[in-house]
């Protein structure tokens, strides 16, 4: 067996040298597992993309997936958006009031919402509500051999199980983001105007001045990447689920954790890139809020 000479070579090194060799070996093993894992997800993603175009999608498979992903997620996304809008008003008011700039609250709340918090929160809720459910559902199908059954009947499990979920997340996350943005804007306005007594004219005037269509579209654009990442990561975890209830539970948890981390990583890099794009098209240079 290939592993036998390796283990005998690394085992006898004594003392500090042995410890260092062991640590380097562990690091190497971790790096190889990570690279293999990324490669596996990449192949899975390519196969999913291939099956989108390889065969016409079936309405009776797409509609239930879209309903679960989109319609059923709306209430929770709306509620989260509403509260985060109000929380932004609560947290920013004190700082802005100290500078006598309370009327600028609208710009900072709405800009934060449409550029960052709306898309990220909608994606987080989708990862929590739909991503882990997809991983658990597909994991259970793997454990109970339903995925093998599909293959044994000459049907492709990626076409039947992953593509509808992927398309559902990709197509519907922009709508969920718009809902989170809209409810957040309402929440922020409600708290600022009704509870803190900020003049509504200045609130909206400042919002209009500092938030433009690019900011809104930037959030929507980012959400497409988040939706794709959630679907692919969650379905991949479901497909490669370990046996037993513990395996399914681990797949669901890992689906959420990995999706969430990837959402934040994507958010950072897309944010940097989109800022550059925005500055490129804005000849007067970057905006200043204060």
């Amino acid at each position: 067996m290939a592993s036998a000479p390796l283990s005998t070579a690394s085992a006898p090194a004594p003392g500090i040298t042995g410890w260092v060799v062991g640590q380097v070996a562990n690091l190497g093993e971790f790096a190889m597992a990570a690279v293999a894992g990324i490669g596996d997800v990449a192949l899975f993603s390519l196969r999913t993309l291939g099956w989108i175009f390889a065969r016409r999608q079936r309405r009776e498979v797409l509609v239930p997936a879209f309903y679960q992903i989109g319609v059923m997620s709306l209430p929770v996304v709306a509620l989260t958006g509403l509260f985060i809008g109000m929380v932004l008003a609560v947290q920013s008011y004190g700082q802005f009031k100290a500078l006598g700039l309370q009327t600028r609250l609208g710009s900072v709340i709405n800009l934060s919402l449409v550029r960052e918090l709306g898309p990220v929160l909608a994606a987080t809720m989708l990862a929590g509500r739909v991503g882990s459910a997809m991983a658990a559902e597909l994991g259970t199908m793997r454990v109970t051999e339903q995925i093998d059954a599909l293959e044994s009947m000459g049907a492709n499990p990626i076409y039947y199980l992953v593509v509808p979920r992927f398309l559902g997340c990709l197509v519907l996350i922009p709508s969920l983001t718009v809902m989170a943005d809209f409810m957040g804007v309402l929440g922020g306005y409600f708290y600022s105007h009704v509870l803190l007594g900020i003049d509504y004219h200045h609130y909206w005037e400042n919002s209009r001045e500092y938030v433009d269509a690019f900011d809104f579209l930037m959030g929507i654009f980012k959400s497409l990447f988040f939706g794709a990442a959630i679907a692919l990561i969650s379905c991949h975890h479901g497909f490669h689920c370990d046996h037993g209830a513990e395996g399914v539970g681990r797949a669901a948890t890992n689906a959420f954790v990995h999706s969430f981390v990837l959402i934040l990583v994507l958010d950072l890099f897309l944010g940097i890139w989109l800022n550059d794009v925005q500055d490129f098209f804005r000849p007067e240079g970057p905006r200043r809020l204060l």
Partner: protein, 290 residues
């Protein structure tokens, strides 16, 4: 090797090329060897029972026969064509000539029994809805299920009913090769015999070849005209084939090999001492073999 003379059941056509041919098959998962040096020749009309204790790789062998598990070494050929050399589409098309009855039936939870049984027909034929309904009803009748189960979900059915629905689905496309994975496990003796009768009845369909993986000696004796016994790879001497018996059920009963006698008579014998030894040493079979 004891009593390994190839069996010659009455229905076998020795002049015909084998339907399925497995040559020197080895399957490894990582460093763990699951199947070792297995060669089987299956001719049209055969009913082969694969027996052996739990964990000896019977299910993996069955999944290798349909290409769900890829061989590490050796070949699996269906009508002379190597499964490992086929592309996804070719393999999917070939699988329409197989029927696979899974241990837990592996019916799709979200579909009704009617939709489950109709699945292969929808996937591979363009039959009108009326014709599909007629075939599904005939299949459900054939496996002795009442028509009122058609609109039920799998979770509403007993284990025996699910197995029969799984058999109906496997027979939907008139397969040439039907693979049964532990068809009677978890069923009461009467229902086990019902399933045995159904396997016999399905085997009498024109041109149907069957492979039944089981550790139920009643099933092996009743349905098979040829039996092979697998022995766990980690208990074998180096270089020894995992197939420790190949012959008719009568030859199996007449065998004097202690490994075969122990299984056929269902005696724990020395295995109890081995288990105590493994417990003392904190070993599991997988670790022992690695």
């Amino acid at each position: 090797m004891p009593a390994t003379a190839p069996a010659t059941p009455a229905r076998r056509d020795e002049a015909a090329p084998p339907l399925l041919q497995i040559d020197s098959l080895v399957v490894r998962f990582g460093a763990h060897e699951v199947l070792r040096d297995i060669s089987i020749e299956l001719r049209a009309g055969d009913t082969l029972a694969v027996i052996g204790e739990s964990g000896c790789g019977k299910t993996v062998l069955l999944k290798t026969m349909i290409g769900l598990v890829r061989p590490s070494l050796g070949t699996v050929r269906f009508e002379g064509r190597n499964l490992a050399a086929m592309g996804d589409r070719e393999l999917a098309h070939l699988r329409t000539r197989y029927g696979f009855v899974f241990q837990g039936a592996a019916l799709f939870d979200s579909y009704t029994i009617a939709d489950n049984v109709a699945f292969p027909l929808h996937e591979h034929t363009r039959l009108p809805a009326d014709e599909v309904r007629r075939i599904v009803a005939a299949l459900v009748d054939e496996v002795g299920l009442p028509r009122n189960v058609l609109e039920k979900k799998p979770v509403q059915l007993s284990g025996g009913m699910r197995k029969r629905a799984g058999l109906a689905r496997a027979l939907a496309l008139d397969p040439q090769l039907v693979l049964y994975d532990e068809p009677t496990t978890g069923l009461d003796p009467i229902m086990s015999d019902v399933i045995n009768e159904l396997i016999l009845r399905a085997g009498r369909r024109p041109g149907v070849t069957s492979v039944v993986v089981t550790h139920d000696m009643n099933t092996a004796r009743k349905v098979a005209d040829r039996v092979i016994m697998l022995y766990p790879a980690f208990r074998l001497r180096p270089g020894e084939s995992q197939v420790v018996f190949s012959g008719t059920p009568a030859e199996l009963d007449a065998s004097r090999d202690p490994r075969i006698r122990q299984f056929v008579e269902g005696r724990a014998g020395a295995r109890l001492m081995e288990l105590r030894e493994e417990q003392r040493n904190g070993l599991t079979p997988g670790e022992e073999s690695a």
